[in-house]
Symmetry: C2
Subunit: 333 residues, 2 copies
C-alpha cells in the first residue's frame, strides 16, 4: 500500500446553491418541509425560482462542501461529481479548484443543465432545500477512476448519491476500489428523508462493512432505526458500525465506537445566520483530524469548529481559512 | 403633468457581481487599483476569474442596486438595462423582479454574454472591481420608452453609462424625455476613474441643467474639479449644481444646494464587511426621501441608513427590508 496522495476524496452531487431569504409562510405556501431536502423536477424548479426572492448563487453540494472544508483545513483533497459545461457548471468547477481541490471530471456537453439547489433560509437560520439534480444524474461508474480512488486515504460519499441510479453504481464501485487498496470509506446519511428512501440499503452498507465511518445527524439516525429515542438509536448504530459520529446541533455530537458512546460539545456561537453546510463542514473537520491520526474527541472538536464557522454566515462553504481558525483555537494541524 | 407611476426609474449597466475575498497582495499581483473600477475585456475577465478565489454570484450594477434599494424602502421602482438571455442574465432579471422592481427590457439573444463585475473584497472591507460590460453595451436609445420615462418622478442614471457608446445616447435621450415631461434627472458620478474619462461631459451635464441632482463621493468630486481640496471642490459644485449630495464614508455626507453646504453624519456601525454598494444604497435612501417630499437632511439620513446596512454584509443589495429598518430607526416613510 503506497502512501495516499489525498487525505480525503469526496464523491457527490455537484450542485450550485441558489440561496434566498424566506419567511416561514413562504415554505407553507409552497408546501415545503422545513429543514428538509426535496428532489424536484425542472418544472417545479422553475416554479420555485419564479416565486422565491432575490437570490445569490454559490457552489454547494454536500460532499463538495465537505471536501472544500478539508482543503481549507490544509488537507489534500479531491472531488468527483458531474456538472454540465454551462455557466453554473463553470462556476462550480472554478470554485472548487480555487479552493485547492483536485477536480478532473469532464463536464457533460449535452443533457440537462448543472444541478441547482434552491435554498430558503428562514429568519431562524434554518435552511429548506429543493434540489434539481440535472447533470449530476449523469455521474457514471466510468467517471470513477481506480488510480484516483486508490490514491485517497478516505473516500467520502454522500447518501444523496442513492438518488441518481448511475451515481449509486459509481458509489459502490468507488467503495470496492477503496477497500481493495486498503483505504477507508466514509458515508454521510445526508437527510432523514433520504434515509427513509434507502433505509434498507444504507443499513446494509453499514452492517456489511462497505462503510467504515458513518456520519449522521440526530434526525437521520432516528430515521435509520425508525425510533424517536436517540439513546436506542445510538446503541443500535453502535452494534452496526465500526465508527460513527452523530451531530446534534447545539447539543454537540456523539462519537460512537464499539467500546464507547462519547459526547463532545458544540462550539458556542453568538447567532445562527444560515445552517446550510453545518453537517458537511462538521464532517470536514472530523475527517481532517482522523486522517492526521488525531483522537476522535479532537477530530470531533475540529468538526464542531468548522460547523460553527459556516453557520455564522450565508452559504455552505467556509469564509475564512479553517486551518488558521483551528490554530487560533489551539487545535494545531 | 400626470402623477408619476414610479418614484424612481434607474438606467444603468445590468451586471452580475462575481464576489470573492482577496488579500491586498492579490490586487498588487494583478495590477488592480484598490477601491476602483476597471473596465476589462473578455480575455482579461477569464484571466482574473482563473486567478481569483472561490466566488459567489449575485445581481449588481450600480443603478440597479440603487433601484432595488428604493423598492426595499417601499418606493415604486423600475429599471432599464441590458442582459443576454443566458443563465446570469436570467438570474439578474429574476433578482430585480423578485425585489419588486419593474424590468421589461428584452434580453439580447445573441452577442456577448451578460455583463459581469469581478469584485475582490479585501480584509478591510474595501472592494476592487473589474467589469466586463458584455451585453450591457447593447443598451440602445430604442430601449428607452418615452411612456416609461415619463411615468417616473425621478430618472436616475449612472455615470458608468458613458462607457458603452450607445448607452450614453440612451442616457441623453432619457434625460430629454424626463425634462419634457416635467420629471427630474439624477446622476451618480460612479467612480473617480470614470470621472477622469468623462470630466468635460459630466461637467457639461451638470452646468447645462441636464442633471438636477448629482450624487458623488469625495474621490469623484475631487476628480471632477481636479483638486485635492474637498472644500474647494464643494464650493465649485455648489456653483454648478442645483442639488448635490457628496458621500464621505464614515464622515457622513454633505448636501449641497445654492444656499448651503450641510453636513449629515454617517450611521455608526460595528464593523465593515464589504463596502460594495455603499454609494448605490445611499442614493436609494436619499431618492426615496426626496421623492416623498422629505427635507434634505432626512433624505440624507435615509441614505446613511441604507449604506450602513449594505456594508455590514457581503453583496451590494439590502439583506433586510429597508422600510422596516427605517421604521426601527424612527424614520417613517
Amino acid at each position: 500500500m503506497t502512501a495516499p496522495r489525498y487525505d480525503v476524496l469526496g464523491i457527490g452531487n455537484a450542485i450550485v446553491d441558489v440561496i434566498a431569504r424566506a419567511e416561514d409562510d413562504f415554505l407553507v405556501a409552497q408546501g415545503m418541509h422545513k429543514g428538509g431536502m426535496a428532489l424536484i423536477d425542472e418544472a417545479r424548479a422553475a416554479s420555485i425560482y419564479n416565486a422565491m426572492g432575490p437570490a445569490s448563487e454559490s457552489s454547494g453540494g454536500s460532499a463538495a462542501n465537505t471536501i472544500v472544508g478539508v482543503a481549507s483545513f490544509g488537507g489534500r483533497a479531491a472531488f468527483i461529481g458531474k456538472v454540465k459545461d454551462d455557466e453554473l457548471g463553470k462556476a462550480f468547477a472554478h470554485d472548487i479548484r480555487a479552493a485547492r481541490v483536485a477536480f478532473d471530471v469532464k463536464p457533460a456537453t449535452d443533457g440537462p443543465s448543472t444541478a441547482r439547489c434552491y435554498i430558503m433560509v428562514t429568519p431562524d437560520g434554518e435552511r429548506t432545500m429543493n434540489t434539481y439534480l440535472g447533470a449530476a444524474q449523469d455521474l457514471k461508474p466510468s467517471d470513477i477512476d481506480e488510480a484516483t480512488i486508490a490514491s485517497a486515504a478516505v473516500v467520502y460519499l454522500e447518501g444523496y448519491l442513492w438518488d441518481p441510479p448511475q451515481a449509486k453504481e459509481a458509489f459502490v464501485k468507488a467503495a470496492e476500489i477503496a477497500h481493495k487498496h486498503g483505504r477507508k470509506v466514509a458515508l454521510t446519511l445526508s437527510d432523514s428523508f433520504c434515509v427513509d428512501r434507502y433505509r434498507g440499503e444504507f443499513l446494509d452498507l453499514i452492517r456489511k462493512g462497505t462503510v467504515d465511518i458513518v456520519f449522521a445527524n440526530e434526525h437521520e439516525l432516528r430515521s435509520l432505526y425508525e425510533t424517536a429515542d436517540f439513546a436506542v438509536a445510538s446503541v443500535a448504530l453502535q452494534k452496526d458500525a465500526r465508527l460513527a459520529v452523530v451531530t446534534r446541533s447545539e447539543k454537540g455530537c456523539v462519537v460512537i465506537t464499539p467500546d464507547a458512546i462519547d459526547a463532545v460539545p458544540a462550539m458556542p456561537i453568538d447567532s445562527v445566520v444560515d445552517v446550510t453546510g453545518a453537517g458537511d463542514l462538521f464532517a470536514a473537520g472530523f475527517l481532517v483530524g482522523h486522517s492526521q491520526g488525531k483522537d476522535h474527541r479532537t477530530s470531533a472538536r475540529l468538526g464542531a469548529l468548522a460547523a460553527a464557522e459556516v453557520i455564522q454566515h450565508i452559504g455552505a462553504r467556509p469564509a475564512v481559512s479553517l486551518k488558521a481558525l483551528a490554530a487560533e483555537n489551539g487545535l494545531v494541524l
